[in-house]
Amino acid sequence: MEKTALYNFHKNLGAKFVPFAGYEMPIQYKDGIVKEHINTRQSAGFFDVSHMGQFFVSGGRSTELSLEKIIPLDFKEIKMNQSKYSFLINDEGGVIDDLIITRVENGFNIILNAACKDNDIKEIAKCLNSESKYELRKDLSLIALQGPKAETILETIIKGVKELKFMNGNYFKFLEKKIYITRSGYTGEDGFEISVPNVIVENLIKLLTDKDAKPIGLGARDTLRLEAGLCLYGHELNQEINPIQANLKWAISKKRRETGGFKGWENIKKDLQNGVSKIRVGVKPTGKIIAREGTKIYSNTGEEIGIITSGTYGPSVNSPVAMGYVKSKFSEIDNKILIEVRGKKHEAKVSKLPFYKKSYVK
């Protein structure tokens, strides 16, 4: 089992650990998931997401064209220091992984899911030519700082971060070392993701805690992203689901939706033209019942129409929240559906996403 550079730091903070994607990761700290969640929404929390892959690819235009085979973005339109959410696509159009890619000096930073990163790198490498160089940066940690106070807190430690626009990044200096910060995150809050050398990550975290940012575990990360309607790989996304079914058409560049030229294009084109048979939706149970992953979804006439892929209690909306896939004709917002929990059917509605909305910094 691998550990991040902050393992002992988490331990001293009273973290409970769980095995996650081959890493021992904090699921929660002393405050517990609900308090950690609320704290992120009301103030600021930091997350150690160093288990995620920080993959750097360098090369010129031919590298970009190689990446375009497997990532359905128009690389020409990615500006310097701009980040984009997208995917690695397989030959059938299924999602190998979802990712954030940022154009930096001499290439791209790609943030990959921990559980997928080794396979991702193989898949990316297959598309690259000899001109491209690539490296998984194990010498770097990744810290997310999220919440309405994230900007004020980080600005006192690293001058200039407040100028960053949403889904944009830049290099900054911390303890004489070059670090890269993007204005992004996966909680539905304003915030930053900070790529920082392992050797100084603890110094940064200590400053964050001094400024009253609280440690947040994977438990609250999950409730936060679910309220924000964001997909989690292995739940809403997998190799058998394509981005159109996942209702993430927007994460394929407009030009690429018209001209294709990437893996799985034939299937994706078909779904773009004819519509999809099943689609990802938000599901809001009417009562208090929680619909967990694997819960069957029925129409209100009793026809089985889909399945829940993630579900929990949303502390900020104070009600259960879930996402799942339903047959497209049942996907209209506010459509009444039924969820089967412990052998009993309960009322629910197709809900618009996100369940919880906060405005990002433009």
């Binding site: 208090k288 929680i290 967990r292």
Partner: protein, 126 residues
């Protein structure tokens, strides 16, 4: 009222005359974390010892609560359904789950005393 007893599945039970009050231990709530949903049995339902009686859910997962003795459900604690955090706040008093009419008091004999339960928890940390 008699001595509070504990099951290996982390329920507590306290006998009072012909009926007993059942809940989950403080240790159980600490393992579960924040409880966000509680489902209680219907009044009048007859259950056998160690049969599923209730459900508690944390943000992470759902867990079953079993009855440590056989009997008929007489009363349930609605305040923990309305606000499940009441279980975390006071698991072994106000956070009780249900009262059950005890069919056979000898079923309590096989349950653990508080010191025995504390030792059991220490020996079985998960």
């Amino acid at each position: 009222m008699s001595e509070k007893k504990y099951s290996k599945k982390h329920e507590w039970i306290m006998l009072d005359g012909e009926s007993a009050t059942v809940g989950i231990s403080k240790h159980a709530t600490e393992m579960l974390g924040d409880i966000v949903f509680v489902e209680l049995p219907e009044k009048g339902k007859s259950l056998n010892k160690e049969e599923k009686a209730a459900v508690v859910e944390s943000t992470k997962a759902a867990s079953d609560v079993y009855t440590p003795v056989s009997g008929e459900i007489m009363e349930t604690n609605q305040p923990i359904v309305d606000d499940p955090s009441n279980v975390n706040k006071d698991p072994e008093n106000n956070g009780w789950f249900f009262k059950i009419k005890v069919k056979d008091k000898s079923e309590l004999d096989s349950l653990m005393s508080q010191p025995d339960y504390e030792k059991f928890v220490k020996d079985n940390p998960n």
